[in-house]
Symmetry: C2
């Protein structure tokens, strides 16, 4: 009996399956037009059972967002831990993440809508993501200071500054506006100017 | 007779009066909820007469946008033409325009909505504005090159780069998201880092 199987299913597996189905529906029908009842129906669950796992659509979107931002953070840390000078890593940080965000967030406009909703409704999780990304930049700057490449008195504060100068190439809403432009040369230009500034010291 | 007076009125004055009334209505009722009929009624004009001056609400919003962006450009050029080194001017450019945009665009949320609509519907006029602002940055960079302050081979291309690094502090949608944060120290930090980079040369 299917009901019995579902009854005995691992709750983590059920949660993962719910998120997967919700994402498919959000992407194909759109976040606003998908109801919790639609998701439950697709999973052959009762809505009441679905609500035991996730109290709202927003809770589901948070999970999807966590996956998307987690992937971005993984790309960022991979760059920070790769071989090369701190200057090269900073340039790769902005260029490769620009490319990644453009591909992942915008290839599917509906996913982008979902992230935009999350940015408004669930600012805290986005703040955590921004803080993580700032942490990656700080780690690259610290490496540059240790190797004698950069002259920076306060790497944590400078990470904020450097990250702000990269916003045009990483922020989903701005990427959307400039989607058809090739912004890579400009991103590279900003990275190189910033690196010169970091090398020059105070 | 009022109708006769209006009939003889200077068309430029009529246009100015229409824009003024439209802005008041857009601000108080909101852009979406204001119709051309509302604007005509407020002006005691027939809708047909209003349409002779402006073919659509969007045409009206374009005029209001042109005024707002014109004011921003005036602030920018005033900074470029003021006394001081090119480095000081670049810092004032981002800090003072950040303050100006925050005050003018966001003190009134409805005006901001209007500008957002214009940014989507009328991208060309925004492009022109962005180009104007890039021109101001280029003029400051050229001045710095002439005075020996900056070492830059291509001031026009570098103006693009520098302007991109300032986006976080000037873009209306980003200002909206960070409205309650004091971003001035960060704006100053980016300007100083950029100036160091411009001084360091290639």
């Amino acid at each position: 009996m299917r009901a019995a199987v579902r009854g005995r299913a691992d709750p983590d597996e059920v949660r993962a399956r719910i998120i997967e189905v919700a994402e498919v529906l959000f992407r194909s029908i759109g976040y606003q037009k998908t109801s919790m009842a639609d998701i439950a129906a697709e999973l052959k669950m009762s809505p009441a059972n679905l609500y035991r796992f996730f109290p709202s659509k927003l809770a589901l979107v948070e999970q999807i967002c966590a996956r998307v931002t987690g992937e971005i953070q993984a790309v960022a840390w991979r760059i920070a831990r790769s071989n090369g000078s701190a200057s090269e890593k900073l340039e790769r940080f902005v260029v490769e993440l620009h490319r990644h965000n453009k591909t992942v967030l915008l290839k599917d406009r509906r996913l982008h809508d979902m992230v935009s909703i999350a940015m408004v409704e669930n600012w805290q999780s986005i703040e955590r993501h921004i803080e993580q990304m700032r942490g990656v930049v700080e780690s690259i700057i610290r490496e540059g200071v240790e190797s004698g490449e950069f002259k920076v008195a306060d790497p944590a504060a400078m990470a904020h500054v450097v990250k702000s100068s990269f916003v045009a190439f990483l922020h989903p809403q701005l990427l959307e506006q400039c989607f058809h432009e090739d912004m890579e040369p400009l991103a590279r230009g900003v990275a190189r100017l910033v690196v010169k500034g970091l090398r020059a010291g105070d």
